[in-house]
Symmetry: C2
C-alpha cells in the first residue's frame, strides 16, 4: 500500500470536501439601498428583516447590509445604483422609475386597477412576474414583489369636493399617473418637498395633498389641518419592490440564489401584515384624537370623470409604447377574471358583516 | 518536522472542515403528510413547493417528501402523526383538531370574524403566532400559517332562503362551528362523505351543502343541481397550517430551522395567490356554463340570528375553557382595530370602483 505525505492527503481531502461545501460556505457581502430612511417604519423594516433571514439561513456567510436614504442620499436613485453595481440590491417601489420607463409603474399599481390580492394573483398566475423581468431586463436588474401598502387613501382636502367644478384650479400635491389624471380635470398639480407639505397645506399654498395611508400620514399631522379624508382610487395596491443586480445574482451559488429569492417572498408577506397593522392602529389613534375627521367618497360624476381621464392617460401611453400596451392588456385581462370573484367573496362578506357587526 | 500518516491527516482535516460545514452539510430526510390527496390542487401544491424550496436552498441536503392522503390514509390524522413522529411535518388546517382542542379552530377562522388581511395582521402584530404556539405546545408541535383560501362561500342551496322559517328543518351538510350555529337555528345538520354529496343533493336527501369556494366546488358539480350560491359568513379567511414535530425541529441545525421557517412563510403567500386564482378562474367558468347561478346574500334578519347564535356558541366555549377565552378575546380586540381600516380602505375602494367599472 502506497503511503501519502500529509500534504498530499490534505490536498486530496480538501478537494473532496471542498466541492460540495464550497457553494454553501462562500462568504458573500452585499449592500442593499432603501428608498426610505432607516427609521421610516414599517417600510424600512423590510431590508433589515431580509438581511437577518439570509444571514440566519447561511450561518452568517451571506451578509446583507441595509442602508437608508440618509446614508446614500439617493432615495430615487436606487435603480441607477443597482444597475451600476454600487449596491447589489435595493428596496423601493417600481413607479419611481416612471421617468425612465413608464411601463415600470404597472408593477406598483394603477388607478382604478386591481386590489392587492387580485394583483398578487396576476403576478403569480397572470404573467405579471414574467413581464416584470422582461421590463427590468433592460436595466440589467431582476425585480421581485417586496410588500404592499394596501389601498392608499385619496388624500387630505381642506374643503369638500361636491362636483367637478370644485376640482378646477384646486392646488394639490399628487404625483405620478394620478397627477396626470387630475391635471386633465383642471387640478393645478404641484410638487412640494415632503418637509414643506404641512406648512404649505396649513397656509393654503395648496388646498389638498395625497400621501399614503394612516400609518404614514399620522407622522405628517395633516389630519389636524385638513378634515376631509378621501377614499382611495389611484393606488389600490401599491406593491413595493426588491431590485437585484442581475450579474451579482448570477454570481451567487445556486443555494444562495434560492435563499435570497425565498427570503424576499417571505419578507413580502411580513411587509403586507406590517402595513396593514400600522394603518389600522394609526387610523384608530387619529380618530380618537380628531373625531371630526370626515371619511369621504368622491361624488359619482367626479369618479366617472376620473376614470375616463385615467383611461385616456393609459391609452395614450399604450398608443406609443408597445411594451406598455402589452402589460396594460395583461392587467386588464386578469382584472376581468379577478374582480367578479372579489365581488362575490370579499366584498359580499364585508357588506354581510356590516349588517350584523356594529 | 513530524510526519503524519495519511489517516491522521484525514482525521484532522475532517475535524477542521467539519465544524463549520456540518450544520449546512447535514443530510436530513423528512416526510410531510398532507390532509389533501396529491392531486387536489391548489391545496396539494404547497407541500411539494415547500420541499423544492428547501432542497434548492440546501443543495439537496435537506429533502422533504410530501405524501398525499391516498398514501397515508389518514387525512384527519395529521396532528396525531406529527405528534407521534411518523411524519416530521404536515400541511393541513387547524380546525380539523376541534374535537381534540376547540381552541385550535381559531387558527383557521371563525364565523363573522376577520378577513384574510386582518387575520394575517393579528398573526404577526396581534399576538396570534404566539397564542398558536402556546395551544400547539400541548401536542409537542409547532404550527405555522400555511396559506389561506380567502372567503369561503356560504354554500349551494336548492331553494332560496327568505326567512328564518326556511332554515327550520332544512337538511344541510355544514361541519364545524358553522354547523353548531345552524343547528341552533333549527337546521338539520348532517355529515355526508364527500363522494356521496352530489347524489345526496341531487336526490333531495339534503337541501343544501357548504363546501369551499368556486375553485374546489367546480370539481364537485353542485352548481348544476342547486342554483342558489350564498355569500360567505362562516369562514371568512380559512388559514391553512404547517405542523412541525417540535423535537424534530429542535434537532435541525439552526440554518435548516431558518430555511424551513422562511420557506413556510414564502409558501403561504404562494398558496394565497393560487387559491385566489383558482377561485377566480373557476367562477368565470361556472358562470359561463350556467349563467343562471344566483349569487345570494342571506336576508338581514337571518344574518342577525346567525350572528347571535355564533356569539352564543363562542361564549359557551369561552365560559368553560380559559385558553379558548384568551384567544377569543385576543381576536375580538384585534378585530376592533382592524375592521375600521378595512372599511375605509378596501371596502370603500371596491364600492368606489363599482361606480365606474362595469
Amino acid at each position: 500500500m502506497k503511503r501519502f505525505t500529509g500534504a498530499a492527503v490534505l490536498m486530496a481531502v480538501m478537494m473532496m470536501v471542498a466541492v460540495p461545501a464550497m457553494a454553501e460556505q462562500k462568504k458573500v457581502r452585499w449592500k442593499l439601498a432603501m428608498t426610505w430612511g432607516s427609521t421610516l417604519t414599517p417600510l424600512s423594516d423590510s431590508g433589515p428583516i431580509l438581511a437577518k433571514m439570509v444571514s440566519d439561513m447561511t450561518g452568517g456567510n451571506f451578509e446583507i447590509r441595509a442602508e437608508g436614504a440618509e446614508k446614500h442620499k439617493a432615495a430615487l436613485g436606487i435603480l441607477d445604483m443597482v444597475k451600476g453595481g454600487q449596491y447589489e440590491m435595493g428596496h423601493t417601489a417600481s413607479y419611481y422609475w416612471k421617468g425612465k420607463d413608464v411601463t415600470t409603474t404597472f408593477f406598483t399599481t394603477a388607478p382604478f386597477d386591481m386590489t392587492a390580492p387580485e394583483q398578487f394573483g396576476w403576478y403569480y398566475h397572470g404573467g405579471g412576474l414574467e413581464l416584470m423581468q422582461q421590463v427590468y431586463g433592460k436595466f440589467d436588474a431582476l425585480s421581485f414583489p417586496g410588500g404592499n401598502t394596501g389601498v392608499q387613501m385619496g388624500g387630505w382636502f381642506r374643503k369638500e369636493i361636491t362636483s367637478l367644478d370644485d376640482l378646477k384650479g384646486l392646488k394639490m400635491r399628487i404625483p405620478g399617473l394620478a397627477g396626470e389624471v387630475f391635471a386633465k380635470l383642471g387640478v393645478n398639480v404641484t410638487n412640494i418637498a415632503p418637509g414643506e407639505l404641512y406648512t404649505s397645506l396649513d397656509r393654503g399654498t395648496i388646498d389638498a395633498l395625497e400621501w399614503v395611508g394612516p400609518g404614514m400620514d399620522i407622522k405628517m399631522g395633516f389630519y389636524k389641518i385638513a378634515p376631509y379624508y378621501y377614499a382611495g382610487w389611484h393606488e389600490p395596491a401599491s406593491e413595493l419592490q426588491f431590485l437585484v443586480n442581475k450579474k451579482a445574482f448570477e454570481e451567487l451559488p445556486p443555494e444562495y440564489q434560492a435563499i435570497l429569492v425565498t427570503a424576499m417572498e417571505a419578507v413580502r408577506g411580513r411587509q403586507v401584515a406590517a402595513n396593514f397593522d400600522a394603518n389600522a392602529k394609526a387610523w384608530q389613534q387619529m380618530k380618537a384624537e380628531y373625531p371630526d375627521i370626515k371619511v369621504m367618497k368622491f361624488p359619482e360624476p367626479v369618479l366617472q370623470a376620473m376614470k375616463k381621464a385615467t383611461d385616456e392617460v393609459l391609452e395614450g401611453y399604450a398608443a406609443e409604447n408597445a411594451e406598455f400596451k402589452e402589460v396594460y392588456e395583461s392587467r386588464k385581462a386578469y382584472f376581468k377574471v379577478a374582480r367578479p370573484w372579489t365581488k362575490i367573496s370579499e366584498q359580499n362578506y364585508l357588506s354581510t358583516s356590516d349588517a350584523v357587526i356594529e
